[in-house]
């Protein structure tokens, strides 16, 4: 019986990545490799002010003194950082004033993914900032947003138009010295998004960015900075897919969130980068540093992520709860299939009084994959009366995969309470048979069960994103049973 259901599970996991294709867009490259000259090249290309170049160079010099971390539960092929092209920009034919002027290749790519800009524009109030190969190609709705004083643009544009804001907040949550990949990103980042919500403004639409990695051998280093001033609110969505590649592609992004007094930032991610083929060849290395700070009292930051892609994921969206009564949340679904490896989780740093955090992590492993949750909850001495609730569940499909939980808990005062729950379960043959007996085929049954399992997390996502995420969950496990 055991081996039967394993066979079934094995089949569903065999599904190939549906979004594997390469778009041929003219690209302008930086010379291969990484030296101070590369950094000067990137900075010059982007026509950056002096402070940016200084920041990059400091980061680079610091990076040279660092070593790649090896503490995660991951097996990583050595990365040759000199064999990477650190900058690639799609050539713009001319200034774009409408969708008809966007590179048709690009539109075709979006169409294949079912996320055409046209469609997105029509979707209820979604402003799309599409990033392809490191340079923003198109920003919509930014004019509407500017009426509210909201800035939503590419990071490069922000550097040009709002250098003071960038200077004030960039690196304030994730300093360049934070970790190996953060230092690398700080040195070579190409582009990303910038979002600023002024005091008292509720952003009327969900802000959305679709990222794509698109040029052979181009590591992509995005940088996103979101600032919500006092009493501001924004919901931000990041989603991505990547075309099929034979070589591993490095992706090391940084996301920084600053929430001032009474501000709230919801950050949602659906990540579906190329995970490699069934033998584990190719696929994206996703080493991301995401961190938010609740700087003022009553601030709130929530991270929601649905991670189905990448060969290797190393990612811990975290919250620093500095303001009194501030709230941090982390909702995560991480799916690994075939030979994928994920080491993901969160850090909740409670520094202010009466701070609260919630962690809901749902790992789903299939095939020969490895899925680890790693979480730190630290309640500092002064963070009296703080609370954390953590729930870490693992769902196994088949018996060749692994699920691991590494919770680290440090409580430095007596008035705080930390609760941690963990479960491991399997999709049982009984459940599958029950669904099939009702006329539902194996793959839909797995989709149904997995989506049910991940429901608590999915319902945190903005509506249209949730629908996409549900499809993605089913797709990424198709062929893993049967």
């Amino acid at each position: 019986m055991e081996s039967d259901s394993n066979n079934i599970l094995h089949e569903v996991t065999k599904q190939e990545y549906k979004y594997g294709f390469v778009t041929d867009i003219d690209t302008e490259f930086a010379p291969r490799g990484l030296t101070e000259d590369t950094i000067r090249f990137i900075s010059a290309k982007k026509n950056e002010p002096e402070f940016m170049l200084e920041f990059r160079l400091k980061a680079f010099r610091h990076w040279l003194t660092m070593k790649q971390p090896d503490w995660a539960h991951l097996t990583i092929e050595p990365i040759d950082f000199q064999d990477i092209i650190y900058y690639a920009a799609p050539k713009k034919k001319k200034e774009l004033s409408g969708l008809d002027q966007v590179d048709p290749e690009l539109l075709a790519t979006f169409n294949k993914l079912g996320i055409s800009l046209e469609e997105q524009k029509k979707l209820a109030g979604v402003a799309v900032d599409a990033v392809i190969d490191s340079v923003s190609v198109k920003t919509t709705f930014s004019e509407t947003l500017s009426k509210y004083g909201i800035i939503f643009c590419s990071f490069s544009e922000a550097v040009q138009k709002h250098p003071d804001l960038v200077k004030q907040y960039m690196g304030s949550v994730v300093p360049y010295s934070d970790n190996f990949f953060a230092a690398l990103n700080s040195a070579v980042f190409s582009d990303g998004s910038f979002c600023f919500i002024p005091k008292g403004v509720r952003c009327p639409v969900d802000l959305s960015t679709y990222f794509r990695i698109n040029a052979a051998n181009t590591g992509q280093f995005e940088r996103t900075l979101i600032v919500a001033e006092e009493g501001a609110y924004v919901s931000y969505m990041e989603g991505c897919t990547a075309p099929q590649r034979d070589e591993n592609q490095l992706h090391a992004a940084i996301v920084e969130i600053v929430a001032l007094k009474d501000a709230e930032v919801k950050y949602s991610t659906v990540q579906n980068w190329y995970p490699g083929d069934k033998e584990g060849k190719g696929g994206i290395y996703n080493f991301v540093t995401k961190r938010g700070i609740c700087k003022g009292s009553n601030a709130k930051i929530s991270w929601t992520q649905v991670e189905t892609g990448s060969a290797i994921t190393w990612k811990y969206p975290s919250c620093i709860l500095l303001g009194d009564n501030s709230i941090g949340e982390f909702y995560s679904v991480a799916v690994t299939n075939n030979h994928q490896q994920a080491d993901t989780g969160t850090k909740m740093q409670h520094l202010g009084k009466n701070t609260r955090s919630t962690i809901i992590s749902k790992g789903i492993s299939a095939g020969k994959s490895n899925n680890s949750y790693r979480g730190l909850v630290r309640i500092a001495k002064n963070a009296v009366n703080s609370r954390n609730y953590s729930q870490c569940d693992s769902l196994l499909l088949g018996s060749a995969c692994g699920a691991h939980t590494f919770p680290y808990i440090q409580v430095e005062n007596k008035s705080s309470i930390v609760e941690h729950e963990a479960t491991t379960s399997k999709i049982s043959e009984d459940q599958l048979f029950y669904c099939q007996q009702r006329g539902i085929d194996m793959e839909s049954a797995i989709g149904l069960i997995v989506n049910g399992y991940a429901k608590e997390v999915l319902r945190q996502l903005p509506m249209e994103f949730a629908v996409e995420a549900q499809k993605l969950l089913s797709i990424s496990l198709e062929g893993s049973v049967g």
């Binding site: 019986m1 039967d4 049982s428 043959e429 009984d430 459940q431 048979f433 029950y434 669904c435 099939q436 007996q437 009702r438 006329g439 539902i440 085929d441 194996m442 839909s444 149904l448 069960i449 989506n451 049910g452 399992y453 991940a454 429901k455 608590e456």
Partner: protein, 250 residues
């Protein structure tokens, strides 16, 4: 003939459970299968539904003129076979509404019909809920999760009503029901009885058969149907137990 089972042998883990079952079911009929614990009643139901852990080593099953043993589990379901489970399984996080909507639309797709619109589906749910006297909030809950024994059984009948099967096999749907629930379940079945469908009810108790009056009663014993008769057979079993049947076999 709707269902015809001929000399069916089936085993699990090399242990033979069914040892030559013969059974014929026509449209419009209700058959009751009784018999001591562990004699293979649920196994028979599972084999008809297509559960793969049971290996069919010999014999045939014909359903609506087709070789049932060649059909996948979901195909049998879409062709109108419904199994009311003795132990319905829990599916956390999947609401009954969502579950049934998926099932109904998969079956419709198989029949070449468009999926039901949200409104039509909700209407269908309301209608069928009334039939089995289900309170409205039950269908918002996850499939069988935290349901009482009786609620699980009612939910099986509700699903049967939703899917309108041609052949419904109810495996001890009466076990664990209080007297009101038993009446509700039985009424549900009776309302769904039509000249073009059939029911096989597996039960230990004559009392169910007071409500759902069978055309035939069969006794399954040690993997074989050893005695068949009309509804009086159930009364006889109630009175005398299975000893006389066991003795007759020795």
């Amino acid at each position: 003939m709707l269902l015809s089972i001929n000399d069916l042998h089936a085993s699990i883990a090399d242990k033979e459970i069914l040892k030559g079952v013969h059974l014929e079911v026509n449209k419009g009929e209700v058959h009751a299968i009784m018999g001591p614990n562990g004699t293979g009643k649920s196994t028979l139901a599972s084999v008809i539904a297509g559960r793969e852990v049971f290996e069919v080593t010999h014999g045939e099953i014909t359903y609506q003129g087709k070789n049932l043993l060649k059909m996948a589990v979901e195909e049998r379901a879409r062709e109108g076979i419904f199994l009311g489970f003795q132990y319905p399984v829990e599916i956390p996080g999947v609401s009954i509404t969502n579950f049934m909507r998926t099932a109904v639309n998969e079956i419709r797709k198989y029949k070449g019909l468009d999926p039901l619109s949200g409104i039509d589906f909700m209407r269908l749910m309301e209608e069928k809920k009334k039939l089995v006297e289900i309170t409205s909030n039950l269908t918002n809950r996850s499939v069988n999760e935290g349901f009482s024994g009786g609620e699980k059984k009612k939910n099986e009948i509700f699903q049967m009503a939703m899917l309108e099967p041609t052949l419904a096999i109810l495996d001890e749907t009466d076990s664990g029901l209080d007297i009101d629930a038993l009446r509700i379940v039985a009424n549900g079945v009776n309302k769904l009885r039509r000249p073009d469908n059939a029911f096989v009810v597996i039960t230990h108790y004559q009392r169910l058969l007071d409500y759902i009056v069978p055309d035939f009663v069969h006794v399954l014993f040690e993997g074989r149907i050893v005695k068949s008769g009309g509804k009086e057979l159930a009364l006889e079993l109630e009175e005398k137990g299975y000893d006389w049947i066991k003795k007759a076999q020795e």
